[in-house]
């Protein structure tokens, strides 16, 4: 039997296996930096979140605090550090909510098909027909501005996109032979979903998670900027931009710094997702080499 000879597939170490590009490395470092700040912020920040440290409002960089002061004379640097926590945590929670709803319903629609798929898909399409900001504005306007409402609303709005992606993935993987084999064996829907389809959609779902996370940061920051998101005195980057936008005309950078931070976070996340997707595609191309 000539085909039984055993060629062990080469396995490389974790780091060689990662094959980081320099953009991905840089993006990863930036994200790691923000993550550390988010975790240990209160110990690093020189002042309190809402503490007024100076009589001068909109003090320039270097005077007052390290990065100047804001419209009330609070330390921009400290608020930035507290802000990363709020921003990232809220983005994480909303993304998780959108995935919980989107993935469950998307896969359920792909597996159950029939009327369930039709009903859910039409509802989601109806939601998608509204501009997402408008939809969020209406809901938050109706239920008031609390963190719970904010998080649930944004999570639900984002889940429509996740639903579409998961449903498409579910349909694609659901017709593969190994899923058919499981069906022929008599496996139930739950097994097929959790053991056959989900593990094989992990890579695209991880990429999707990264993108939704980015989108969620932008969306939340946008809502905070409109005054519908996080409320003062809590610190949030979007909120900080809104508070200090008046300072722009006085030559203060208090609004620009949080804006730049938002940009750094989202751009890094996008770069990382790009790298991840390219790597996944690369793998599939490379697997075909020895045919």
């Amino acid at each position: 039997m000539s085909d039984v000879s055993d060629h062990g597939a080469p396995r490389a170490s974790v780091f060689a296996g990662l094959r980081l590009t320099w953009t991905a490395g840089l993006a990863g470092a930036i994200l790691l930096f923000w993550l550390v700040l988010a975790l240990f912020g209160p110990w690093i920040a020189p002042h309190g979140e809402a503490e007024i440290i100076s009589g001068t409002t909109f003090a320039p960089i270097g005077e007052g605090g390290l990065l100047g002061t804001d419209k009330l004379g609070r330390d921009v640097f400290s608020r930035l550090i507290y802000g990363v926590r709020t921003t990232m945590l809220l983005a994480l929670i909303t993304t998780l909510i959108s995935f919980a709803f989107g993935v469950t319903l998307g896969f359920a629609a792909a597996i159950l098909k029939g009327w369930f798929d039709v009903v859910i898909s039409r509802i989601v399409e109806a939601f998608m027909a509204f501009p997402s900001t408008l939809l969020a504005l209406v809901v938050i306007g109706a239920f008031g501005t609390s963190i719970t409402v904010l998080v649930l609303t944004v999570g639900l709005v984002l889940s429509t996109g996740v639903f579409r992606v998961s449903r498409a993935l579910g349909y694609d993987i659901g017709v593969m032979d190994f899923v058919e084999a499981a069906r022929a064996r008599g496996e139930g829907t739950w097994w097929i979903l959790t053991r056959e389809i989900l593990p094989n959609s992990m890579a695209p779902l991880i990429a999707e998670f990264g993108l939704r996370f980015t989108f969620s940061i932008l969306f939340l920051s946008g809502l905070s900027f409109l005054g519908l998101g996080v409320q003062e005195p809590a610190a949030d980057w979007g909120l900080m931009v809104q508070e200090n936008v008046g300072g722009l005309f006085l030559g203060s950078s208090a609004a620009l710094i949080p804006a730049a931070c938002i940009a750094s976070l989202t751009v890094s996340m996008n770069l990382l997702v790009d790298w991840f997707q390219q790597r996944q595609q690369g793998e599939t191309v490379l697997e075909k080499i020895d045919q």
């Binding site: 085909d3 396995r11 022929a184």
Partner: protein, 595 residues
């Protein structure tokens, strides 16, 4: 300088995921003269395609040409800048891939795609090029050459599309044509027309060609010289005649030995000794949505025997297996499993019924979940049907692996770490794990090369003897079926046209369709193609393609013997012939084709 292509000491390396570069091609040299066809043969993984791509100065993503020279028309193309090298492709060299369907854009008319390359290379204006293309279509024997360019890719048959692909490759008048397994994905019947078209056009235009394949019988028809490859190294090179009849190297002999035996020769057990059927398909009609594929199909699979199902692609072979497994619910008729009528849909069947009838899919690559270890893939049916857990289960998994000639250690591997043949063994082992009475094998050897496929067939035979399982063996490869099956069912357009003990089916009298299938199997004899392609049957058969759900005899549009007025209006009844043979044809027995 008469050599169109000279490759000297070619080395190509490839990088597996996360790993380092490993050599794929190790110092191969070859040359092709004008008007000559050089065949590259070898098992999958021997580097055939890699070499043929390197002839265009191209390496697949993740691969690189690390050493060697590639001279085309007296120029070393590896020394050219990438832009110039790119300009050569389509102009001086062109490439025909295995699947034409993947090379055509489904949204554009064929004619436009055929003249795209010459237009790009500035060989003329659209009108002259289209006229030249029509001339090519005519040479390639395509039906209605004037209008075929107006069609979209989905409106022509697979064989025609493959020939159009050749037209596309020839449209620039290349000096070198590279054909990478151009007929492997085709039915034997279609293969003939495509092979003949390729060979004629190569002769006609005096083009040099590289023909990549693993099918020696095909090589015998087209090649002037053969280069045998193994693991990226040249094993042997010589004129076709010498390689086929006096191979010098052992490996070449192994390849020859794996060539399928000629169909007619095999004798089988007396069908009278067969027992009660484990599967009995009675008058089944089934299809997808509004489409009816199978109509009034009846097939019995006796216990511990092999029933072969043959027919061209799209005839409903897989559909039959899916209906038996309950994946595609039937509309009319019954499926009786082991004496008990089975529910049409798989979810309504009790576990015991499911356990007795297992299905093995065609593509081992996609039939195994890439994220599960072999141990889990094999362990699941053990747990599911027999409730085995823990050590007991692991022990049984190891036994199963041994049963299919794989090392026990494979349990901890992922499917991606196995070769095609090994995957197909795991695929079989999963079916065996249920301890079934019958296994539905859907083209289990079609994606494997001859040597590996022969190994899998041997395995199936030994399992049958050891465990007493029965098989419904679906294949479009007649020789394998003939040498393996006890009984054979010939399907055409979703109907049974001939059925009986294998010996009776494969000996005269034949159903006209069975006759066509049999005469289309390539023979190792040089010159076979010229004889077979000129028969009236072959001409009639290539004129049209399978139509499902017409009135009259489904084969009427391709049958050379069709009785006009009868065959196209009335469906022939199934007639019993001596020796348990059943044939559905209007022709009187005496007029049925004999060899």
């Amino acid at each position: 300088m008469t050599d169109v292509l000279t490759i000297k000491n070619l080395h190509v390396e490839g990088r597996p995921p996360g790993g380092d570069y490993v050599p794929i091609v190790k110092g191969v040299s070859l040359n092709v003269r004008k008007g000559e066809v050089l065949a590259l043969i070898g098992e999958s993984g021997s580097g055939k395609s890699t070499i043929s791509l390197a002839a265009m100065g191209f390496a697949r993503p993740g691969c690189r040409i690390s050493r060697g020279e590639v001279w085309l028309n007296g120029r070393d193309i590896m020394a050219l800048p990438p832009h110039d090298r790119h300009a050569l492709r389509g102009d001086e060299v062109s490439y025909v891939a295995q699947s034409a369907a993947a090379s055509f854009n489904p949204a554009l008319r064929i004619g436009r795609q055929v003249i795209e390359a010459p237009l790009w290379h500035g060989a003329g204006d659209a009108a002259t090029l289209t006229a030249a293309a029509v001339e090519l279509y005519r040479k390639l024997d395509l039906p209605s050459p004037e209008t075929v360019g107006e069609k979209f890719p989905h409106q022509v048959s697979g064989g025609q599309l493959q020939r159009l692909m050749a037209a596309m490759a020839m449209s620039c008048g290349p000096d070198l044509l590279i054909l990478d397994e151009p007929t492997t994905a085709l039915d034997v019947t279609t293969q003939i027309e495509v092979l003949k078209a390729f060979r004629d056009i190569i002769r006609d235009q005096g083009t040099a060609a590289i023909y990549v394949t693993h099918d020696l019988a095909v090589v015998a028809q087209v090649a002037d010289r053969i280069l045998v490859l193994k693991n990226g190294e040249t094993v042997e090179e010589g004129p076709t005649n010498q390689i086929l009849h006096a191979p010098r190297h052992d490996y070449t002999r192994t390849l020859m030995a794996a060539v399928r035996p000629a169909p007619h020769l095999v004798d089988h057990i007396d069908p009278a000794a067969a027992q009660a059927p484990v599967i009995s398909v009675r008058n089944v009609t089934a299809g997808y949505g509004a489409l009816t594929i199978l109509s009034d199909v009846s097939v019995d699979v006796p216990a511990a025997s092999v029933v072969g199902v043959i027919g061209e692609s799209g005839c409903g072979k897989s559909t039959l297996a899916r209906v038996v497994a309950g994946l595609t619910p039937l509309r009319e008729g019954t499926v009786i499993l082991d004496g008990k009528p089975a529910a049409p849909a798989v979810r309504d069947r009790p576990r015991a019924a499911l356990k007795d009838c297992q299905i093995v899919f065609q593509m081992a690559d996609t039939a195994l979940n890439p994220r599960q270890r072999i141990g889990d893939i094999l362990g699941r049916p053990l747990d599911f049907y027999q409730g085995l857990k823990g050590r007991e289960r692991a022990e049984r998994v190891a036994e199963l692996l041994e049963l299919v000639d794989l090392p026990r250690g494979f349990a901890s591997r992922f499917p991606g770490e196995l070769s095609g043949g090994q995957k197909q063994r795991v695929n079989l082992a999963r079916a065996l794990a249920a301890d079934p009475k019958v296994i539905l094998c859907d083209e289990v050897t079609s994606a494997l090369d001859t040597v590996v496929a022969a190994g899998v067939i041997e395995l199936l035979k030994s399992l049958k003897d050891k465990l007493g399982v029965a098989y419904m063996f679906i294949s479009h490869d007649l020789s394998t079926v003939a040498s393996f099956a006890d009984e054979v069912v010939v399907l055409y357009a979703g109907r049974v046209v001939e059925k009986g003990p294998s010996k009776a089916v494969f000996s005269p009298p034949f159903h006209p369709y069975t006759k066509l299938l049999l005469s289309s199997v390539p023979e190792m004899r040089q010159g076979w193609l010229d004889g077979v392609a000129d028969t009236s049957e072959a001409r009639a058969a290539s004129a049209a393609s399978v139509v499902i759900g017409g009135t009259g005899c489904p084969f009427a549009n391709r049958c050379a013997l069709a009785i006009s007025g009868t065959c196209d209006t009335t469906a022939p009844a199934v007639r019993d012939l001596p020796g348990d043979l059943q044939i559905a044809c209007h022709l009187p027995v005496a007029e049925l084709p004999v060899s």
